[in-house]
Amino acid sequence: MIAGLVLAALAALLPVVYPSTVVLNLGPQILVMGIFAMSLNLLIGYAGMISFGHAAYFGVGAYTLGILLQKTGVGLAPALGLAVLAAALAALAIGFFCVRLGTIYFSMLTLAFAQIVYTVVIRWTSLTGGDQGLIGGIPVPPIRLGALMLPVRSPLTFYYLSLLAATAAFAAAKVLVDSPWGLLLRAVRDNAQRVGFLGASERGLRLAVFVVAGAFAGLAGALMALYVGGAYPDFVYWTKSAEPIFMVLIGGMNSLLGPLVGAAILVSLTAFITQFTNLWGLVLGAILIAFTLYFKVGILDALLRVWARRPSRGRAAERAAAVVRAPSEESPWRS
């Protein structure tokens, strides 16, 4: 938690110390996608649930926000809240089906259900604008802070808005994973059957984390919709689900901040690559393949592991070692 708060403080100072369009441009994207990736990691890293359809909740959040702001007079804060709620409800409905069966079916079903959401978005033209996305963009009312009126779409305002949201989201997630509930979640990841033998409901735990993850993803989606001023079917397409998967794998799945690192890498990489080629999928796919076959450990995890091995680092090193679960023979995701 401390590390995260320090990071947040540094990030808050960054535009002041180093004002640059790159920071203001990439920063919010990294933060928003970081929330998205962290939410997926609650599933993959902490619960052992490999979801391939996480974009569904991202998209529901985005479209809900867009539709509310465009078609109703709801203010920004309530709209954000409702977007998160909508995403959570979608996760509840979909999760209900997906968590009933084992890991492999779960993976297939999350993909299939995300496709359902995509189909609904594409077909329900009157509500969502179909394959054009929400037509007309999203009118965003300025944020009122006392006497100040802050236009949300200004880079600086949005930077701080997304930083605030990210800090709150990561802090909330941290509280959750450190709690007894979080401990049981990791137990379900390691050995769901045994959790049942303890007298707890592994299905209930899984559904709960699925909803929580969906809610956070919805927050990210809503923020993204604000950022780009629209909601598009892309937000729900399966390639959108691939992005947080990449971030979690590359950044590290043994912590909440790992996916943030992965988000930073992917966003920067995409910005860089798209200058040269359109074949972003090829690059992404190739890196994923390299990681699954060769590297296997996310970057933050690798760094923490190296740091934890250094002698006489005391409590900090112990905690780092505790954060980084060294994979042993009995892997949590043995099928």
Partner: protein, 250 residues
């Protein structure tokens, strides 16, 4: 009054009858063994008792409650504990966390999401107490997956202990262990009975252990209970000898 009464328990898997009309009673404070050749139905019997496999026929009464149709979750909470043939632990969590998780569930605190688990001093102390009792307290901060096989099986028992069962079913507690470890583990199992007053029913293949330690022995063969009684009686029993014919164990 018997702690556990099993009456005509039967289980068919498709066309295969795994357990056939098994009836017996386990008294409180009993320390008994369940033996039988491979495939005799021992693990299935345990699964039936803990509610993880549905019963085709028969009745089970535990501590005065008819648990025949109860769900596994309920049965655990009523007091039947279980340790498994292959150590059923949580490999990517520390040894302490493994037991703490069980303690949390036992105390119904596992749904608390807003306080750190670290701060549950009572639960962690209880977990440490259990680890001390099974002699694993030094390994508290080791990842469970990194323990030796023998220690993992002991951890399995520790997790079951955290649920404070009245009846403990141990499925081959010494399986896969070195001879030295076996002695230690059996001593631990015996202490469960002698020091904690637990009713213990264990499955074992090592006959030296069984005959050296158990008060009552029940023999399962082809899903049927062919004999039960004190060790002396069992070793003299022709049916039992036949069941094990070719295994050269008795």
């Amino acid at each position: 009054m018997a702690l556990l009464t099993v009456d005509g328990l039967t289980k068919w898997f498709g066309g295969f009858r795994a357990v056939n009309g098994v009836s017996f009673s386990v008294g409180p404070g009993e320390f008994s063994a369940l033996i039988g050749p491979n495939g005799a139905g021992k693990t299935t019997l345990f699964n039936l008792l803990t509610g993880h496999v549905s019963k085709t026929a028969g009745r089970v009464v535990f501590d005065g409650v008819d648990i025949t149709h109860r769900h596994a979750h309920d049965i655990v909470r009523l007091g039947i504990g279980r340790a498994f043939q292959r150590a059923n632990i949580f490999p990517a969590m520390t040894v302490l966390e493994n037991v703490h998780a069980a303690v949390l569930v036992h105390r119904r605190w596992h749904r608390r999401a807003l306080v750190p688990a670290r701060r549950d001093a009572g639960g962690r102390a209880r977990a440490r107490e259990i680890l001390r009792w099974v002699h694993l307290e030094d390994a508290a901060d080791t990842l469970a997956g990194n323990l030796s096989h023998g220690d993992q099986k002991v951890l399995d028992i520790a997790i079951a202990l955290a649920l404070e069962p009245k009846l403990l079913l141990l499925d081959e507690p010494t399986a896969g262990m070195h001879p030295e470890e076996r002695g230690e583990t059996m001593a631990l199992v015996r202490r469960l009975w002698s020091e904690l007053g637990m009713t213990v029913l264990f499955v074992e293949h090592d006959m030296d252990i069984v005959f050296g330690v158990a008060g009552t022995i029940r023999v399962l063969h082809h899903g049927e209970l062919v004999a039960q009684g004190p060790p002396a009686e069992i070793s003299a029993n022709r049916l039992v000898v036949e069941a094990y014919l070719g295994e050269g164990i008795l």
